[in-house]
């Protein structure tokens, strides 16, 4: 019994994930996800005759593009051992600020600037609490989650902002080429940027190092707090980008906009193979996870499954993807003992 508890305690600590075995499982995780994505795609095309239609599929990408934009920044944040639960509220505040600006006659360039700056400011606000005051990010962002959306409620009450300029609709409703939407293009560009940032730069190495061992990272000369500050800024900025896309797509702002989206973003990140305890994960994993979640929601939607029932699938997916490898490892460990 003592051995059991000892084991449980130890598993709560982040083990060294730089060994080759972890890399192998990481690789196979993405391969597995890809198989799942293809399987869902094939199943869906059999289940509904409306699935294999370029325009329908193009519409379906809206299920994940906005969440995915935030998920990339969130992935880096979670790898570094922090989390931001306020992203959906940042969207609400940024969208409210843009709606307010419209009432004073702001044009599309100003709106974009405002959306991005509010996102950055909110990110900086979180960052100051976490890095300067040294508070746990989960509590801070639960607090700012109420605060940011609370400010939207104070400004908007039960009202709504409309009347966005026609040119603003381009972000959420426009097409780059044929069926490829502006949002999927932004999603792709952001994916590439974050992929390079995480996997090809010193900054990315620092993010992994911090997630694996913050003290060790500090002793090896990484400015831990500064890296974390930047990660919170980036998450805020991405929430600002998502706010622009979502507001442009909906054409109106209510304070309840994007409620609960933080959960779906975290689910997407975890599904993408990012270790929720920090230290490991990859951007390609998150990209595939975004597609998987988008395909699942779209497929279930075509089969007339109501949104709240889909959330059961999302919840099961979230727990399942973490639980199954652990159950499998437990069975394997038991087998090797006997």
């Amino acid at each position: 019994m003592t051995d059991m508890t000892d084991m449980t305690v130890n598993t709560r600590h982040v083990p060294n994930r730089l060994n080759s075995h972890a890399y192998r499982t990481l690789r196979s995780w993405e391969a597995l996800l890809l198989v799942v994505a293809v399987a869902i795609f094939v199943l869906n095309s059999f289940a509904s005759p409306y699935f294999l239609n370029a325009w329908n599929l193009s519409d379906a990408t809206y299920n994940f593009t906005e969440k995915g934009m935030i998920a990339f920044a969130m992935a880096l944040l979670i790898i570094s051992g922090e989390i931001d639960l306020s992203v959906a509220s940042i969207i609400a505040l940024a969208s409210t600020a843009m709606g307010l600006a419209v009432q004073y006659g702001a044009g599309t360039p100003e709106l974009v600037m405002i959306g991005l700056s509010v996102g950055l400011l909110c990110g900086a606000f979180n960052a100051i609490f976490v890095t300067v005051l040294g508070l746990p990010s989960i509590v801070v962002t639960i607090g700012t989650m109420s605060l940011f959306r609370g400010i939207s409620y104070i400004i908007l009450g039960d009202g709504a902002y409309r009347g966005y300029p026609d040119s603003f609709a381009w972000f959420g409703q426009g097409y780059i080429y044929w069926v490829f939407t502006v949002e999927i293009a932004i999603f792709a560009v952001i994916a590439v940027i974050y992929g390079v940032l995480l996997h090809k730069t010193n900054f990315g190495r620092a993010v992994y190092a911090i997630g694996n061992n913050p003290t060790g990272a500090l002793f090896s000369g990484i400015r831990v707090q500064r890296v974390k500050f930047i990660l919170f800024l980036l998450t805020g900025l991405m929430s600002g980008v998502a706010a622009i896309c979502l507001t442009s797509r909906l054409g109106s702002t209510r304070p309840s906009i994007a409620t609960g989206m933080e959960l779906e973003v975290v689910t997407m990140v975890v599904l993408g193979g990012i270790n929720i305890l920090g230290g490991s994960g990859s951007i390609p994993g998150v990209v595939i996870a975004a597609f998987v979640m988008g395909l699942v929601t779209f497929g279930l939607g075509l089969l007339n499954v109501p949104g709240i029932v889909m959330s059961i699938f999302i919840g099961l997916l979230l727990i399942g993807v973490i639980a199954l490898p652990r159950i499998w490892a437990m069975i394997a460990a038991r087998r090797s003992q006997t």
Binding site: I138, V139, L147, P255, P306
Partner: protein, 327 residues
């Protein structure tokens, strides 16, 4: 013992609540009338009960974000049960609510204990699953007041010694949890697990099992509140208490429960809940739009956590030493 260090924080919070009430009474004297204060307390009772459950979970270094969904699911089940069998006695319904809530809490606890999945992931997941299940069993329909029996809706409101039963249940829960945390082995091991899990293992405490029990307790309280909530507001639907899990966490954080585990007290959780309850009830009285409430509780969380982190760093070590000494 823990109580040696805690009163400082509790006194400050208690003082803050008194100052707040004083300020409100300058705008509207009737707010501090005993009858109104009793109303405020009754209105805050569900939050107090839930905050105690959340406190136990947070003390063991976990978090339970599924409490409000658990509450809503249990509430829906007992409401539908009442519609199907109006003759079912209330004690039986309460027992079902507590057991069902505890069962859902135990699911969270098992996932955390046996599979070592981070609690935030588990409860984010079960939160959406529970909400989804409410939709599945109710088909998205509401259970309204006229469908429920008079005994079912009347119980929490029945007056007993001048206070509604709902208030008495909250008081009883506070007493039981106060005794449990300070006088029982489970209460002491909850502190020990959160204070230092490794040391707890060496003193013979099963860390995972203690966390499992904490989740089961918080689930049981969520279930109990589920019945009280549905009966008091005489309606059950998918979204009842939506977002309430954050208010519960806010009450705990404001009450000085450290999110890092091991530090906190029953009194703190209760005062944190009362603080939010006073703010909520005072806003309409002093002519501030209720839309301010979300921002105010958000700011209160940030101020409280910043304040507690500064005050708690040395105190945490003192509590640890004395906890180790007493186990």
């Amino acid at each position: 013992m823990v109580s040696r260090n805690i009163p400082v924080r509790e006194t400050i919070l208690g003082g803050a609540i008194l100052v707040l009430m004083g300020l409100i009474s300058t705008r509207f004297a009737g707010f501090v009338a005993p009858a109104n204060l009793a109303n405020v307390f009754n209105d805050t009772a569900p939050l107090i009960i839930l905050a105690l459950g959340q406190m136990v979970v947070i003390l063991t270094r976990c978090i339970d974000l599924s409490m409000a969904a658990n509450l809503a699911l249990t509430g829906m089940v007992v409401a539908m049960l009442n519609v199907a069998m109006p003759g079912l006695p209330i004690p039986f319904i309460i027992a079902i609510a507590i057991l069902l809530g505890a069962f859902m809490g135990a699911i969270n606890g098992l996932l955390v204990w046996k599979l070592a999945i981070p609690p935030i992931v588990v409860t984010l997941g079960t939160m959406t699953i529970f909400r989804g299940i409410i939709f599945l069993i109710s088909d998205g329909k509401w259970v309204n007041a006229h469908e429920m029996s008079a005994a079912f809706t009347g119980f929490p409101r029945a007056a007993f010694l001048g206070l509604p039963v709902l208030s008495w249940i909250a008081i009883l829960t506070v007493i039981v949890f106060g005794l449990m945390m300070s006088r029982s082995a489970l209460g002491r091991s909850i502190f020990a697990v959160g204070g230092n899990p490794h040391a707890a293992v060496y003193t013979g405490i099963n860390v995972g099992k203690t966390q499992f029990l904490a989740f089961t307790l918080s689930g049981a309280l969520a279930g109990l509140t589920g019945y009280l909530w549905v009966a008091r507001y005489a309606v059950a639907y998918v979204d009842i208490a939506g977002g309430f899990e954050l208010e519960v966490v806010a009450a705990c954080v404001i009450g000085g429960i450290s999110i890092a585990g091991g530090i906190g007290s029953v009194g703190g959780a209760v005062l944190g809940a009362i603080f939010l309850g006073v703010v909520k009830n005072a806003l309409p009285v002093v002519n501030i739009s209720p839309f301010w409430q979300l921002a105010i509780s958000g700011s209160a969380i940030l101020i409280a956590v910043a304040f507690n982190a500064r005050a708690g760093q040395t105190k945490g070590r003192i509590i640890l030493k004395s906890a180790e000494g007493s186990v």
